[in-house]
Symmetry: C2
Subunit: 435 residues, 2 copies
Amino acid sequence: MHRVVIVGAGFAGLSAARALVGKPVEVTIVDQRNFHTFQPLLYEVATAGLDSGDVAYPIRAIFGKADNVTFRFATVTGVDWDRREVELDGHAPLPFDSVVVASGATARYFGIPGASEFAFPLYTLTDARRLRDHVLRRLEQADSDPALAPGGPLTFVVVGGGPTGVEVAGALAELLDVAVRHDGFTFERATGRIILVDGLPRLLTPFKESGAAYAAKTLEGRGVELRLGRMVKSVTDACVNLDDGSEIPTRTVVWAGGVTVDGTLASRLDAATGANGRLAVNDDLSLEGRDGAFAVGDAAAVPWGPDSDHPGETCPQLAQVAIQSGKHAAGQVLLRIDGKPTEAFRYKDKGIMATIGRRAAITELPHGPAIHGTLGWLAWLALHILYLIGFRNKIIVLVNWSWRYLSWGSGPRLIVGEEPDEDEDAAGHGTTLLG
Amino acid sequence: MHRVVIVGAGFAGLSAARALVGKPVEVTIVDQRNFHTFQPLLYEVATAGLDSGDVAYPIRAIFGKADNVTFRFATVTGVDWDRREVELDGHAPLPFDSVVVASGATARYFGIPGASEFAFPLYTLTDARRLRDHVLRRLEQADSDPALAPGGPLTFVVVGGGPTGVEVAGALAELLDVAVRHDGFTFERATGRIILVDGLPRLLTPFKESGAAYAAKTLEGRGVELRLGRMVKSVTDACVNLDDGSEIPTRTVVWAGGVTVDGTLASRLDAATGANGRLAVNDDLSLEGRDGAFAVGDAAAVPWGPDSDHPGETCPQLAQVAIQSGKHAAGQVLLRIDGKPTEAFRYKDKGIMATIGRRAAITELPHGPAIHGTLGWLAWLALHILYLIGFRNKIIVLVNWSWRYLSWGSGPRLIVGEEPDEDEDAAGHGTTLLG
């Protein structure tokens, strides 16, 4: 039986594996986590709106009924192309006939001093939980010593004005509202500051101008300060420095400045890279010169493809691209088994969405209308719940959200980090690159 | 205004605080965690049936509407009785007129070599999550290397035949069933062993003989091996040694051998201790010679009280005792403010319950019938859901359980520990003593 190893169980790897269920192949998914993470909602975990289990799903449970899919809980250390084996950390290597690399990305710090050390990325569940613990501890610190409140603990800086940055900033504003209104914190709401910084002159670059303007107006209406057209020069444990010479004292810098692919991935795979460290792939998503190897999702420089909206360009690192490219690679594996020629990938844009908080979101359909406000938010909500894997998670997310929306009664505002300042240890902020 | 400091937000502390809501006192709850833990369901978290947020509730959310209750997120280091201040780690001390010590207990290892170092206690949410990660990692290890399966990774030893031990053993058996049936693990179910050890000749000592026999029969029917009348002599990182000379190779020892009060609590409080390290209290739950100070719950040697079922005896360390004693102490604070004499505590036994797993539990009412089996389980289920604090949690636990019960679709079988072997670090297994 033809053996397929899929490296990574994010949107891309999962999509590839699903397309191979019941096909004449033996699939092994390798991941260093035993669960899939629904990344678009990580900001909700980070701001105590949802709990870990709401956005994570055990990989084994997803494929429990698929006889030809197995899971290996391990970290990939490299690929031996001669022996055709995926090498694992502390486990026997996995031989393959085809391999799909879907190992994802990591936060992009642009070499800004202190950013990787002191800022909080938001790409993995661990990132989200660490940020939640940190933010909730800052609220407690401000409450315990009111003299501190105007300074560091209640100043939150979000770097990046894309969807993640806008979502985090909006959700942090709501968290501060809840803290003062429902959680008995004694500081004044006005002492809590959320500052969103982006080097570009407007928010949400991939969206239309009207959406960006709506987002800016809504965020400002909710008390978020926008510093657009300003670059971050450096981050320390006590402040952020901007290129206009201003310094923002803060203990909390959320890094939503985009993602990149870890530079060592390509060297471990002995593969070529395209823009932003992403693995260079052919039109059919295969790796150049590597028989039966494909790269998909955030890890790969996925082309829009011929006859697409943007032929010759590279797709953005989005969930939809990951899902479509994973499925495409699986299709190519099957075509090759049948001795048929492979086909070029073509990305089908299904639209983009960003939420700013309760009853405020932007939904833009390709060649269609832009929907702002409550209707856009309902569309966003429906789509995200539908996409969440597994019926159980859908119900729980729905219950969580409904309850939170109706009452503000209780999000999972739990500080579960074990050490008082575990979240502030410099080490371990980064994400790992493979699997 | 009369200032009351409550140390600890477990059942006892929470119960005391609730009884003081709206009364002419200023209450401050101090805890080193920002959430209350519903301890009776920790075994569900440890065996991936429920997620952390299902059994934990933010303390601030509980008292959000109570104007006279505030929360301080801090660790208590001692009490200055002359200045009448509770001393905190890294925070200004809290002056008090009355203080209620409800700081809980910690696992009791009876001085058995290696137990505190290598066994997994189950008293805090952190304990439960660490055990869950560890158990799920053992399943993955066995799957990854089938040669290992008959040995360590799939042998789980539970020490203690009380309700917690019985519950954990039953839930582990169900987890193994699910792993093989629904999660695609490739080892044989029969290679997974669960061994329950207790020094006493029967299970569930506080229960009737018939309930113990029912529990033993049900556990054995679900594949749990009972080693009763055997004492654990030592625990290492690779085995458990019993007093009959037998050695059980295992990487996983769950410690359900009861609780004790950390020996340093009494010295930090400069207070006398009764049996099992618990703080000695008078009939009204006040601390001897300490004006306006009370000790309640697991931390205190709570007397059954005059006219109770067991006058002259000390109550067991149970949730009901904690709830009733916390409420009683709050009442005494109010009586003293009114210049009235305090009253003796009297424990009202409301019955005991233990669950062995799906559709199998024992409910014993005082002076009433013992209910075993499905009916006992439904009674157990209803009571636990009703007791869970907060409407939201109730719904979610209900949804979780219903779904799991109907489908086995997906419990939160997530390994969220950040380091591959974080759970195996010897340090940090113990619980902390105050707050």
